[in-house]
Structure formats: structure tokens, C-alpha cells
Amino acid sequence: MRSKTFGSFAEAVADIPDGSVIGIGGFAAPGTPYNLLKALREQGAKGLTCVGNTTGGAHQPRMPDIASLVENGQVKKVIASFTAATRPTDVLPFTKYYESGEVEAELVPQGTLAERMRAAGAGIPAFYTPTAVGTELAEGRETRVFNGREMLLEYALPLDYAFVRAHRADASGNLMFRLTQRNFCPVMAMAARICIVEVEEPILPAGALDPDAVHTSGIFVQRMVVVPAAPDGIWAVRREERKK
């Protein structure tokens, strides 16, 4: 079997074509594939559709995020559960490009976003959910009553690529996440044709992980790169380090 382990982030993202649909894992810092995002920015693919919980935070210093690809002119459309800041006083780097029309966005409730990718990964084309019924998001869309309750039709969201960050992996691509690092990562891995993982610990030989403890099967993982120590690799920083 060809090795799934790549020597660099640049090699792992080298063949991503223009127009790809890419899921970016992570919720706040945990699970965010900073190194893959940075490599994709350097690689330069254009016309991308990026799927993620947010477009990136408002805080400084900036970490690689969807907005950094938008700024680099690589993104056609964003699909996210936040397309504006949660606090109106925060200024998101994304907002300027969205308001000027340089990038499109589709705003999706977070649970619906997760389930649309879960469905894609599970071979289910569409589903009904009570979420967003009666809101602006449901206007003009198909609903149906089940057990006396109105439900909104939502479609699966398949991905060309998923970028995720895991804590531990073996050579077969079996993954373990640590604490809230898991978030969207397993559903994105399953929704994608090609899942690329940045791994925090050295990759273990196949068989080193307890089969009962694996969160994502290597079936869903095609490429892995180990995150080097800082400053070559990008790691989340603590609040007080961020302030410096």
C-alpha cells in the first residue's frame, strides 16, 4: 500500500485544483488545520468553496483561516454558521470582502452544517430538520410536516477535500482526536473524497492504536503530515502568549 504520510504540507496540498470544495475542521482553535491552510495559501488554488464553522476570528495575531484565503483572492464562496461577527463591535477580516461582493456566502445553522456533511459521508442525499423553520433562512424552501411538526429539507454537502487536525494517528490513517479537537473533523473526513490530516504527534506504526479507541477510521483518511515543532509548525497559543 502506498504510504499516506507526506513529508511536507506543500506536497500534501500540491495537486488541489482550482474550484475545489474544501472543508476546514476546527471549532475555535482546537482541530483547526493551521498548517494546511497556510500551505494552501502558498499553493494558490483559486475559485475555492470553503466550508467551516466560521471564517476565522477577529483577534490578533491572525492565525491562518478561511479569511486569509479570501484575502489572497482564492475563494469564490464560503459556507459557514457565522458570516458576521458575534459581537457587532468586532471587525472580521472576512466582512470587507463579503460586503463588497468579492466573495459569496451561504449561512447555515451549525447543526445543519454538521448534519449536511454527515449525510454526504453516509450516502444520504437529503434530510428534514426542525432547525430554521419559520425563519428567513427557510423562506421559499421546501418543508414537510412529520408527526405534526414542520420540517425543512436540507441537502447533503459533499466535499472534494477535508483539512483536519488530529492528535494521534497510525500509518493506516486511523485517527484519534484529543478533547474538543474532534468537533467537525470526523464528519468532514467522511464527507470528503480526500481527507488531509495534520497530526500533532509522530505517526505510529499500524496496529499501535487500540481499535476501540479510534475516532476516525483510516478508510476516510488519504494523506497525513506531522506538525513540526514551532516555529516551523503552527500551534495554538495561550491567551497570555497571544497578547505579547
Binding site: A29, T83, E99, G111, R182, N183, R238
Partner: protein, 228 residues
């Protein structure tokens, strides 16, 4: 299932609480008093996170965070954080003996299947019929929904915490929402700096007035009829 043995001190013991009305922690404390033993509680970002500072006594409350964290304790001080562990607001919280992490699809399966006993959220407006708005401000392109629409549509109860009036003095408890709603007819209890209120369909019933607030004063600051 553990109690709140690692919880912080009771917030009302703090100094600096206002002589009139409630401050944010007191608003959160009042709503937290309504949490019943055994409840699974989801706290939204902003003022609702203060509910986890309230001393809940002997009640066993489990906090759920939309990013797949079930059962968590207080925010950890700088230097003690685990960078792999955050709540819905991105704060580095602590684990409890029975904490569990799940993926996002499973986290929202918990929400959508109606297992959350109450979700506590901030809002811009709450209407007399139980509608509320918290994802988009006037004139904004796009919005910030996060997990709010899933939670509002599917939790057994929706409690709202918000300031009674806007910075310009306009009421936030209104006859009907002017802003795009998050969900319709779901709010059962509202905490503001002026008191606790329950939407009745055509107005708001006073459950409790904050210290120093008169009925007349609150009625003048409320956009919908106030019922005693």
C-alpha cells in the same frame, strides 16, 4: 454524576452589585435558580456563560457545549488551560469527572433529539409571543447563527438573558420582533437587568422585579403590555 463541588463561589456574594436592578451575574443567577436537578443545560456565548458561575447547591446540572463537550466545569485561569479544551465561546474550561467529548454531528444529535432541558441565550429582542431574534442586526450582510437555531428549535425550554433596553433606551421586550427571528414561539422565561419576565402571547408577565425597580418604571421601558 457529580454535583458542583468544583464550582466557584456564589456570585451574589460579590461586592459591586448595583443598588437598583440586577447586574449581569445576578441576571444569570436568577435564571440558574430555575434549573432543576438532573437537567442538561446549554449555555450560549456572552452573558449566559455566567450561569456556570452560579452556586447551584445540591442540584446536579450537566452543561452541554455545542462543540461536543458534555459536562464541563469553570473557565481555567491563565497558565492552567488545556488548549484542546474549549466551550462554545472558545474559553478554556475544565473537565469534570464525568465529562465526555463527541463529534459535532453527535453533539447536534443531542440537541435536535430534544435532550437539552434548557438552552440559555442572549438576544437583541424577545417578542410577547415567544419569538426572539439574536443572529442578525439591522442592515448587516450575513449573520452569526452558530448553534442558536438548532438549540432554539429543539431544546425543551428556551431562556433568554438580555439588557431590558438598548443603549439608546429602546425596549428589547417588544410586541413582535423587527429583526429576523431565530425561532418562533419558543421563549418561556426572560431575565433582564429589571427582572424576570414570562411571555404570555400578548405581553409579558412579571415573575420577579429586580431590587429598586417599580412596576410603572418597568412598564414604561417595555414595548409590549406588562402584566402584574
Amino acid at each position: 454524576m457529580s454535583g458542583n463541588s468544583v464550582g466557584p463561589i456564589h456570585a451574589s456574594a460579590r461586592s459591586g452589585a448595583p443598588a437598583k436592578g440586577w447586574d449581569r451575574q445576578q441576571m444569570a443567577d436568577r435564571l440558574s435558580e430555575k434549573f432543576q436537578d438532573g437537567w442538561l443545560v446549554n449555555l450560549g456565548v456572552g452573558i449566559p456563560t455566567l450561569c456556570s458561575n452560579t452556586d447551584i447547591g445540591d442540584r446536579e446540572i450537566t452543561y452541554h457545549s455545542e462543540n461536543g463537550l458534555i459536562g464541563y466545569g469553570p473557565v481555567l485561569p491563565a497558565g492552567q488551560e488545556d488548549l484542546h479544551l474549549v466551550n462554545a465561546g472558545g474559553q478554556n474550561v475544565s473537565l469534570r469527572p464525568d465529562s465526555v467529548t463527541v463529534n459535532h454531528a453527535d453533539s447536534f444529535a443531542i440537541i435536535r433529539s430534544g435532550r437539552i432541558d434548557v438552552t440559555v441565550m442572549g438576544a437583541y429582542e424577545v417578542a410577547a409571543n415567544g419569538d426572539f431574534a439574536n443572529w442578525k442586526v439591522a442592515g448587516q450582510k450575513g449573520g452569526g447563527i452558530g448553534g442558536a437555531m438548532d438549540l432554539a428549535a429543539c431544546a425543551k425550554r428556551v431562556f433568554i438573558i438580555l439588557e431590558h433596553v438598548t443603549r439608546k433606551g429602546a425596549p428589547r421586550l417588544v410586541p413582535s420582533c423587527a429583526l429576523p427571528v431565530t425561532a418562533r414561539g419558543v421563549v418561556t422565561l426572560v431575565a433582564t437587568n429589571y427582572g424576570l419576565f414570562a411571555p404570555t402571547g400578548h405581553g409579558f408577565r412579571v415573575v420577579e422585579l429586580a431590587p429598586g425597580m417599580s412596576f410603572e418604571e418597568v412598564r414604561a421601558a417595555t414595548g409590549a403590555p406588562l402584566e402584574g
